[in-house]
Symmetry: C2
Subunit: 340 residues, 2 copies
């Protein structure tokens, strides 16, 4: 039998109310009484029934995260770090984190519906925003607290943390152009991902400002996995006039592209330049180390979580739309242009 405040009340000969207030450190309880109660509680091994507390307070002290997955082998180092950022922050606030995994689509939306109508969580975190994001529309319509990692198309009237991908890609464009590259290809994810759009814009527009055109057949679409980076790079390298630089829109695809180039016997950083985006820990230890745009994923996770919990708690928030400036990390997967 677990011990309840009623048991404590009986033991110390006080009412449950007093016990409750003492345990919650209300200041209208006699310090002496408070101590008696607390001692008794400790002695009896009392710990509150969280289910009862939550039910009573209509609060779950839990935030939710629904990870969009593709296929069964969902293996993205990006997410584990993001989760760590959220999880550790949540723990500081004594919040729990509920995680679901769903492929984008109907089932995913259903998970959102369940989460909010069952009030399983007090707030939600959205990742990998899309141009028209039905998740966000839904949460706004239902007036449910959420913070997203990423923005959407159109007016943005919600809290988010995002990296300035446009700027990040401008750095890449500047860099490659400076290195003499003109035949530049890219591998993007499907462009309804908002970050894909920003990254593409940043790259294309800046290149054009610099007088270089991003050719249509140099634009390939992948799905963020290493495999697709490999496959698209193979196609690019088979072209009669292959690119001298490949800009992958995330590190995983960049790794795949590197493999493809190496399979062709090319020396990366010399014969061809390849860049990534994200700077996952692995990027520093690939062969060769990857030139990429750094994204502080852990900190972003922490910030998103912080904003959300403050929101849920009705704490004041100074800034609820955070745009971070990324940084280009030049490593040896890139270098001066060399026409093959």
């Amino acid at each position: 039998m677990t011990v309840t405040i009623k048991d404590i009340a009986k033991k110390v000969g006080l009412s449950v109310t007093t016990v409750s207030r003492a345990l919650n450190d209300f200041d209208d309880v006699n310090p002496a009484t408070k101590e008696i109660i607390k001692n008794a509680a400790a002695e009896m091994g009392y710990s509150p029934n969280i289910l009862a507390q939550r039910f009573q307070k209509k609060r779950t002290d839990t935030i939710g995260l629904i990870l969009p997955t593709f296929g069964p082998r969902f293996s993205d180092p990006f997410f584990s770090e993001f989760i760590a950022g959220i999880g550790n922050t949540a723990a500081q606030y004594k919040f729990d984190m509920l995680v679901s995994t769903r492929a984008p689509g109907a089932e995913e939306m259903q998970a959102y519906v369940q989460m909010i109508q069952g009030r399983r969580v007090d707030g939600l975190i959205i990742v990998r925003t899309r141009k028209e994001d039905s998740r966000i529309t839904f949460l706004k319509d239902n007036n449910f607290p959420f913070v997203s990692f990423g923005r959407t198309e159109g007016k943005i009237d919600f809290s988010f943390v995002d990296e300035d991908s446009v700027y990040g890609m401008q750095l890449v464009a500047n860099y490659l152009h400076e290195m003499g590259h003109r035949r530049i290809a890219c591998i993007t994810p499907p462009d309804d991902f908002m970050f894909a759009k920003f990254r593409f814009e940043g790259l294309k527009d800046r290149l054009e400002q610099l007088g270089t055109h991003l050719e249509q057949n140099y634009i390939r679409m992948g799905d963020l996995t290493q495999r697709s980076g490999y496959e698209e790079a193979v196609k690019l390298l088979k072209m009669p006039e292959p690119p001298t630089a490949i800009v992958a829109f995330n590190d995983l695809m960049a790794f795949g592209a590197m493999s493809a180039a190496q399979d062709k016997g090319l020396v990366i950083g010399k014969d061809i330049s390849i860049t990534g985006f994200d700077d996952i820990p692995m990027a520093a230890y690939s062969h060769p180390p990857l030139t990429t745009v750094h994204q502080p994923i852990y900190q972003i996770g922490a910030k998103v979580c912080d904003l959300l919990i403050k929101k849920v708690n009705n704490q004041p928030i100074q800034e609820d739309q955070v745009l971070l400036r990324p940084e280009l990390i030049v490593r040896s997967s890139s270098g001066p242009e060399k026409l093959v």
Copy 2:
């Protein structure tokens, strides 16, 4: 105002009891009545208050997972896939998944204490078991349902799913020996990880059976990250008589070791053989593709979750100690011995 069964009862002119039973599909309710109630519920947009249900039933319908992390950059592709396996299975059972991230140690144990004494979850999943695993001792002592991915030292009287790492490493040993390798090094994680112990045993014992000795200074300790694989490999390659094969105990460290070898100008698979363990998706797309032992992480996650939920639900379980036979995947990071 959210709608409750009381509201429905009022509307249809029946008691809350009947409404409750109808909604839960009890068969002692007149089918006609049942339909009326269900229609009303749907019409009014009723959805049960999960908090109340849970409180009442003393069940959370939630399973917990506390991920052991090291340092802030916790980026292990292994875990995202494992989480997906658990999450998708949990969803089928309509269970939620609570995830915490803690560095091993005091804080971690505290998280376990909180989880179980607050009854935040109905059951827990343990990952990366250690030789003497205080988490497992604790859960057993408290008679709390759990299933682990991995075993411990000594008598194992709890449910687990594990891969037969001993066997997996025997495959590696056989293979390398057959390829002519005699100077074989390995990079293990700290050996209080149970899987490290098994993998080490499998490698060492089999090699000895084959007449090859695993030399003491060829045994390096890493921390499962790419970085440490790199660093330890650098040391190995600097030795007067470097190994002709490096057996990394997970893929991430193998990748790091590959980088180190490549930095030295070695051609992997020719000048030196490097093998991993896990077969994360990336292993097939590294350069060169990694020879490794396949571990069906997604399925393991799914199985662990399945066992745990069955246990929590008191459903019959045919086999609660599952040992899977791994498979060696030979790719091009390894080949015949070549003395440098």
